[in-house]
Amino acid sequence: MQTYQPSEILIEQGEENTPVVQRVLTRLPHVPVRIVEKDWERKTPARTSPALSEHEPFAAGKRRVLFTRQRSTFLEHCPAGTSGLVCCNYLVVSLISNCSMDCSYCFLQEYLANNPTLKVFTNVGELLSEVAGAVDRHPERHFRIGTGELSDSLALDPLLGFSADMVPFFAARQNVLLELKTKSDCVNGLLSLDPKERVVVSWSLTPSEIIDTEEHGTASFAERLAAARQVQAAGYKLGFHFDPLIEYPNWEEGYRDTIAQIFSTIDVRRVAWVSVGSLRMTPALRTAVRRRFPQTRILSGEQVPCGDGKWRTFQALRVKMYRAITGWLKEAAPTVPMYMCMETAAVWEKVFGHVPSSDKEVARTLTQPNLAGV
C-alpha cells in the first residue's frame, strides 16, 4: 500500500506545538507548511479554496492536511442510524475528517463535498476526557466506540500516531470496546501496544476484483489479510465488515472465495464480530460518483430507490446476497456475532429469521461476548 503524502500542511494558529503537529513536521520535513488563522476553513468559501482551482477538488482536498481543534463534541451516535432501520447503538469519535483513500462508492464524496481539506483534530486529550466522562460514569453499561466514520482509522497512523493515545486509554477500561476500522495495512503502530482484549481491529472487505477497481489507494486484499494476522498475533480482536456488498457478475464466487480465504488464515476465536451491509447511495452521491469515476461499474447493479431515499440493490436480490454471504460466514464462523448495517426489520426477518427487539439488543449481542469474563 502506498504511503500517504500530503501536498501541503496547514496549521491553525496556536496549534503548532501540539504533539501530533510536532510528530508530523518531524516525519514530513519537506512538505510545505502554512500557518492559517483560526476558523480558516469557515472563512474560506469552498469555491475559492485553492483546492478548487484543481481539476478534481475533492481528491485535491485529500492532499491538504489541516491541523485544527475540534470545537464541538467528539462523541456521537453513529450517524448511520435512521428511523425505520434496525440500528446497533454504535458510538463514534472522529479525530480525522476526510480520508486519504478514494473508494468510488464513498459517502464522503457527498458528505464532505465542499470540504477543501483533510482535517486532523489536535485536541486528542479532550476527546479522551469526553469518552471517559461518558464511559466511566456508567460502569454498568457496555459501550462500543469506533473511529472509522469520517476517515480510515489506521491509514494515517504511521504519520499521526493516534493509536499510541487511543489503545492504552481503552485498554484500561472494563466496559468499552474500541473499534479501529480500516482498509489499510498500517498496523505497525499497534503491535507494541497491549490492547488487553479491549480493541477490535476490523477490516472492510470486498472481493479482490472490487478492491482493485473501486477502492483506490487502499491496501490489497492480501495486504489486509496479512495485517489481520499481525494484529491477531499481537493480542487484538478482529472484525470483518462486508460493507458495502457489491453486486457484480461473479459476486457469489467472489464473496465465497473471500470468506474462505479469511477464515482459513485467521483464528476464528479472535473474531469479535462480522457485519454485512448493502451498497447504499443517495441520489447526490450517485451523481458525484458518476462524475468522479466515469469508468466505475458500481452503479451498474440493479439498484433502485428505497424508502429512506437511498438507492440499494432491489430487495429480493439483496436478500439473496445477504442469505448467501451470511450462510458462508455462519459455516466458517458459527459462533461469531453477526449483524446488518442500515437495513429494515423486514430484511432482518428474512435473513436472520428474527428482528431484534431494540438497538440495545443488537449492541448486547456484540459487546457481551467480547467483554464477558475479561
Binding site: R291, P294, L299, E302, F314, Q315
Partner: protein, 177 residues
C-alpha cells in the same frame, strides 16, 4: 464545430439541457452521440428523460460492454421508434425496453409477479398491487364492494386462493431471484 456537434448543441439549446447533461452526452464517441441524437429527436427528450437515458445507457455498457449505438439499434428499442405510435407511447415503449435491459432480474421478477396476480383470477373487484421495484415486498389487496354480499364473496374468493396455495406461491416468488 462539426455538423454533429452543431446539431447536438442546437437541440440542447432548444430543450435547455443543463451544461452537465450536455457535457456527458458530448463525452461519448461520435458514433454513440449520433445514435443517441436520432433517438432524442424522435422522442423529443427533455432534461429529465434524457438524463435517465444517459444513466441507463452508460450503466448497461459499463456492465455488459458494447456501445450505446449497439444498444440503441437493438430491435426492441429500434422498432417502437420506427412505429406509428404517438410520441408519448413511443417514449414509454422505448423506456420500458431499455429498463428491461438495465434491470433484467427485477423486470423478470416483476413480470412473474404480474403473471401470478393475473393467474389468481380475482375479478375486477379485487385489486392486488405491489410497491415500485418490489421494495418492501408488501402486497396490497384492495376490495371494492357495494354490499355485504359482494364483500363476503370477495373474501371467500381470497380465502380460496389462500387454501389452494396460489397466494403462497405469489409471496414465494420473491425468493426466486
Amino acid at each position: 464545430m462539426s455538423q454533429l456537434n452543431e446539431q447536438i448543441a442546437t437541440y440542447a439549446h432548444e430543450k435547455r439541457l443543463s451544461p452537465q447533461t450536455l457535457a456527458r452526452w458530448s463525452a461519448w464517441s461520435e458514433e454513440d452521440q449520433a445514435a443517441f441524437l436520432v433517438v432524442v429527436q424522435v422522442l423529443q427528450l427533455g432534461e429529465n428523460h434524457l438524463r435517465d437515458f444517459l444513466d441507463w445507457l452508460e450503466e448497461i455498457t459499463a456492465r455488459d460492454g458494447g456501445t450505446a449505438r449497439e444498444l440503441l439499434t437493438r430491435a426492441d428499442i429500434h422498432q417502437p421508434l420506427q412505429s406509428t405510435l404517438a410520441r408519448n407511447d413511443k417514449l414509454k415503449a422505448v423506456k420500458e425496453a431499455l429498463r428491461r435491459i438495465r434491470y433484467p432480474r427485477l423486470s423478470r421478477l416483476e413480470g412473474d409477479v404480474r403473471a401470478a396476480v393475473k393467474a389468481l383470477d380475482l375479478g375486477n373487484r379485487i385489486q392486488v398491487s405491489f410497491p415500485p421495484a418490489l421494495e418492501g415486498e408488501d402486497i396490497t389487496v384492495e376490495l371494492k364492494a357495494h354490499n355485504l354480499q359482494e364483500l363476503t364473496d370477495s373474501l371467500r374468493h381470497l380465502q380460496q386462493r389462500v387454501e389452494d396455495g396460489a397466494l403462497q406461491r405469489l409471496f414465494a416468488l420473491f425468493d426466486e431471484v
